[in-house]
């Protein structure tokens, strides 16, 4: 399977995830939704004035959500259509950033920051280095080999897309699921509240208690990743060079 097909599939999943998020978010909470909203912040210092402001800015939030959604899909589409791999990576960074914004809107502030640090930072750097190590020419033509297979795969993907979008559109969000998580006072500022759900402290609390085992197990995974990366990518001795492999060009720099 060619890398392009994989990329297409990856993008498809991005789109699907987005549609899922969008549908879940866009579902109205029923007729008495505003009262649900207000009850969700039980007496935690949200003044009437700020509530009014918030109600007024609901439309702004809708615009923000759809802008970020568009950014996610647009970034993915940009990745697919670029010949220049570095440009494609930049499109990917756009997707990551827009996703971070969506996480922020879903109360997951810690996740949003990690998304920016790890994905838009470290993983993007990794991608760029892989591109530099491989350095494939950009002008590789589209292979016409296996075109029927590609067409078939495309049709299958289209079918899957349609079915999954229909599925996601049918999602039924119960009113109780739309109740906001409990609010806590903003540290050092009792006049404002934050929602506890996705804050660093909340994520840490579950990470270091209920999810203690996965947390420790992750370190094994990271150990394998380090050892494996070094073992596989360590330069071979000169005598061990693969027959016919090109010697690595001198490293770049000025």
């Amino acid at each position: 399977m060619s890398g392009r097909v994989l990329a297409a599939i990856a993008a498809l999943f991005l789109v699907l995830g987005l549609v899922a998020a969008g549908t879940a978010a866009a579902q109205p909470a029923g007729g008495d939704a505003p009262s649900v909203t207000i009850q969700a912040t039980p007496g935690a210092g949200v003044s009437t004035a700020s509530r009014d402001i918030a109600t007024g800015s609901g439309a702004g939030m809708a615009i923000l959500f759809w802008a970020l959604a568009l950014g996610t899909v647009g970034g993915a589409a940009f990745v697919l259509t670029r010949r220049n791999l570095i440009a494609a990576v930049m499109g990917m960074v756009g997707t990551f950033l827009a996703l971070a914004g969506l996480y922020m809107m879903l109360y997951a502030s810690f996740l949003a920051v990690i998304q920016m640090l790890v994905y838009a930072g470290a993983i993007m750097v990794l991608f760029v280095f892989v591109i530099m190590v491989l350095n494939r020419p950009e002008d590789e033509p589209w292979g016409m080999v296996g075109l029927p297979g590609k067409a078939l795969a495309g049709l299958a993907m289209l079918y899957l897309l349609v079915r999954l979008v229909m599925l996601v559109w049918s999602v039924n969000v119960p009113d109780t699921a739309l109740v906001a998580p409990a609010a806590v006072a903003f540290p050092g500022d009792a006049a404002h509240t934050v929602y506890e759900f996705g804050s660093t402290a909340a994520v840490g609390t579950s990470l270091f208690s209920d999810y203690l085992f996965p947390f420790e197990a992750i370190s094994i995974l990271l150990l394998i990743a380090v050892v494996g990366a070094i073992a596989v990518a360590r330069p071979l001795n000169d005598a061990d060079e693969l027959p016919g492999a090109q010697p690595p060009a001198p490293t770049g720099g000025h």
Binding site: I53, F110, G121, M132, T200, F208, L223, A229
Partner: protein, 140 residues
């Protein structure tokens, strides 16, 4: 409505959002201004790649050493490790507090949080030892 609730939540981030919006706005504004009102003179010399004042030597499209990749992946792994430390640091006091022995008694100091992170870090110190000994972070 949902979006209203989102608005309530995001008020806490208004200053950050404002800073981002201002930064983006000014960058965009000045870029656009430069394009719109700046003087333009196109000549072939100016379109050449600029390499520290000297003539470009060779194509930039050569293959780079795999060491860049190694450094990048090590950075990634230890970056993730560091990401786990933020919530831990925030909660350290809470994780180190043991419940009081009875009503009215003070809470104790435990080592639970410390040991949790110690185990995690020990595994990664093993990884670091390996990396160090295999000279993967040296650049000869």
């Amino acid at each position: 409505m949902l979006y209203t609730r989102l608005a309530l939540q995001l008020q806490a981030f208004t200053p950050a959002g404002l800073a981002i919006a201002l930064a983006l706005g000014f960058c965009g504004l000045f870029t656009l201004l430069a394009v719109a009102v700046g003087p333009k003179s196109v000549n072939p010399e100016k379109l050449k790649p600029f390499e520290c004042g000297s003539e470009p030597i060779g194509s930039p499209r050569g293959r780079y050493s795999v060491k860049f990749y190694q450094v990048a992946i090590l950075f990634l792994v230890f970056d993730i490790e560091a990401a786990f430390m933020y919530p831990w640091a925030l909660l350290f006091t809470k994780l180190s507090t043991t419940p009081a022995a009875g009503p009215g008694l003070p809470t104790g100091v435990g080592i639970f949080g410390f040991v949790e992170m110690l185990l995690f870090v020990i595994v990664l110190v093993v990884a670091l030892t390996y990396v160090w000994r295999k000279k993967a972070i040296g650049w000869e």
